[in-house]
């Protein structure tokens, strides 16, 4: 007879566990890695990251060593290093934006709709947790993933280029280019708030994961395409930039135009025409926060009762 087959045993423990929102967040984050689509996209992201890390090395690290070997002195200067890094970040984040959009859709689509589909909501709500704790736990999953894709790579490249500066100039270079850090952080915050808000909003509306994926993909990617087409029109773009703020914000993220590239590529006429269609970083962040508030409100409202799924 198995040890546990002896019958029901009362629970005598007195310990208090972790807060419910942390348990939900941690479990949701680890479950995300079980998704094959997530794993494939994660792998693509790693490849993309390594390619541009290598690109940076050959641009700065290796070139500097060659110069030192052949000329006896490094050729880098602060301006070119910063400008090259911004260019690299711009291209890197353009690719990341597509991958991040896909990750957000894959992970975010099931945040709440999966629990509605499998009728798991009563299993949660009958526990001593509040609806905001349930939603907070769900809402933290996507930002945690975006830390890996949007925040840490940019900071890593920044530190890498700083370390490749001539001896004794690393700290001054890092201190003199904090605007890059600011851009990377803004990009992360905007992506995290916008994507989380959008996915919570859609996921709390239906128990059909496929519908959430279709609608969110349409908003993120088709909206981005529309933004590009409309950017070629004169006049209307300026109006549309604010008329379609939520969509354009997501488009901006998808095109990596919100922060880093906006700040680094303004002055380029062609880029300016395209980017004029996209909100400024501060505005985009505010919209992201608004979208997040809307998503949180909608999800908390949905998670406060089982009336629909009853």
């Amino acid at each position: 007879m198995a040890v546990y087959a002896r019958g029901y045993r009362p629970y005598r423990g007195q310990g208090r566990g972790a807060p419910a929102w942390y348990v939900i967040y941690r479990e949701g984050y680890s479950l995300a890695f079980k998704n094959w689509g997530f794993r494939i996209i994660g792998l693509l992201f790693v490849v993309w990251f390594v390619i541009w890390a290598a690109g940076l090395y050959f641009t700065f690290g290796l070139q500097d060593q060659v110069d030192r070997a052949t000329r006896g002195v490094g050729t880098q200067n602060m301006l070119s290093a910063a400008s090259q890094l911004k260019q690299t970040l711009s291209i890197f984040y353009s690719g990341v934006a597509v991958l991040t959009g896909l990750l957000a859709i894959l992970v975010g689509a099931g945040l709440i709709s999966d629990d509605l589909r499998t009728r798991a909501l009563p299993l949660y709500l009958v526990r001593p947790i509040r609806s905001w704790e349930y939603v907070l736990g769900k809402a933290l999953i996507l930002p945690r993933i975006l830390v890996w894709t949007c925040l840490l790579p940019g900071l890593f490249y920044y530190l890498l280029v700083g370390l490749w500066q001539p001896p004794g100039e690393t700290m001054s270079w890092l201190g003199g280019n904090l605007d890059i850090v600011e851009s990377v952080v803004m990009h992360f915050l905007t992506a995290a708030t916008s994507y989380t808000g959008l996915m919570l909003l859609l996921s709390a509306r239906t128990d059909r994961r496929g519908a959430v994926i279709a609608v969110s993909a349409a908003i993120i990617f088709a909206g981005s395409l529309l933004s590009l087409i409309m950017a070629r029109l004169e006049g209307l773009g300026q109006v549309m930039k604010y008329a379609g703020l939520p969509v354009n914000t997501v488009c901006a993220i998808a095109r990596d135009a919100v922060t880093a590239s906006v700040r680094t590529r303004r002055g380029d006429t062609h880029a300016d025409r395209i980017l004029s269609f996209i909100p400024e970083p501060d505005v985009a962040l505010m919209i992201g926060v608004g979208l997040l508030a809307l998503g949180l409100f909608s999800a908390i409202r949905r998670a406060s009762t089982v009336e629909v799924s009853a």
């Binding site: 546990y4 087959a5 029901y8 629970y11 208090r16 566990g17 972790a18 999966d114 499998t118």
Partner: protein, 317 residues
């Protein structure tokens, strides 16, 4: 001790007729069957007292705690097995029960230990590492029971716990429920419309229909003499009925025995004897009316018959 007390509980969904109408009742401890046909309001009642449906009128308390004010404390002390097919996506049985244990406040390691214990206890020991979505219907019922027990609650609400289970599984689950109540002092409130199952385990039943409370009684009352006798006679029925009427003994035709009695040339009734009267009074009336009594036996109803009688009587009123 009453584990659930309701005063004027009313719940409506939108503009539809109320799912619960002014329900005032108390549910005692032990194993209690919450009975009623489909749509009677059983699940709604459970969801109201658990705070899953927050917008209702009236007062309710569970284990002496106010449903609105002490919702979190109630949920710590109560387990719930929902009727609907519920599971956590992409989780194995052990992961899901451990996770739900953590959400009830157990530390991770203790939740994992409890998850093992309750899953083995409900008979899922061989399937704890399988995805819950791969479980059969019967296994999912056991899984839901495990989720409701992982934090060792004082009171467990079971909403149609045996639906979809094969006969062997039903018996096993009935044994588990009986054991929980008898050996471990758990209170169980069991919502069902399958009366024979409830009859095997429950101490008492509460009857709901169309959102209204229709009565509560102990199951041991079923086998006791309730003053009803089954009566079959040969001879002039009208005179006999009049004589019984004078003795204040009520008669209704015995629908169940009518066909058999008629084929033998008899008349069958169910007689209700008022307090202070007995079989001797029936025999005296028969002697005076010159009829022969062929059968005089107490009526022992099963739960289904009582249930139908309660609902039928209320409807005729």
């Amino acid at each position: 001790m009453d584990v659930v007390e309701l005063h004027g509980l009313t719940k409506s969904y939108g503009g539809r007729p109320p799912a619960l109408r002014d329900v005032t009742m108390a549910i005692p401890g032990g194993v209690v069957g919450l009975l009623g046909p489909n749509g009677a309001g059983k699940s709604t009642l459970i969801q109201c007292v658990l705070g899953l449906l927050p917008d209702f009128d009236g007062e309710a308390s569970v284990l002496g705690l106010d449903v609105r004010r002490d919702r979190r404390e109630i949920r710590r002390r109560v387990g719930f097995m929902p009727e609907s097919d519920a599971y956590l996506p992409r989780m194995t049985g052990i992961q899901a029960v451990r996770y739900l244990g953590q959400l009830t406040g157990l530390p991770r390691n203790e939740a994992l230990r409890r998850a093992h214990e309750v899953l083995y206890h409900v008979g899922l020991g061989e399937a704890i590492y399988r995805q819950v979505k791969e479980y059969s219907t019967g296994m999912r019922q056991r899984f839901k029971l495990a989720t409701s027990l992982v934090h060792d609650p004082d009171l467990v609400f079971l909403d149609e716990p045996l639906s979809g289970m094969d006969p062997t599984g039903r018996e096993e689950l009935l044994d588990l429920i009986r054991d929980l109540a008898r050996s471990h002092g758990k209170h169980v409130i069991w919502s069902s419309h399958i009366l024979p199952d409830v009859e095997k385990v429950a101490d008492a039943v509460v009857v709901l229909d169309k959102g209204e409370f229709h009565g509560r009684f102990q199951l041991e009352e079923l086998s006791s003499d309730r003053g009803h006798v089954r009566l079959e006679i040969e001879g002039e029925a009208a005179g006999f009925a009049a004589a019984l009427g004078e003795a204040d003994i009520q008669l209704v035709p015995d629908a169940a025995g009518a066909a058999e009695a008629e084929s033998s040339g008899r008349t069958a009734w169910i007689a209700t004897l008022p307090p202070g009267t007995g079989g001797a009074d029936v025999m005296r009336c028969a002697h005076e009316s010159d009829v022969r009594v062929r059968r005089l036996a107490p009526v022992v109803e099963n739960l289904e018959q009582v249930f139908m009688r309660i609902l039928g009587r209320e409807e005729s009123n």
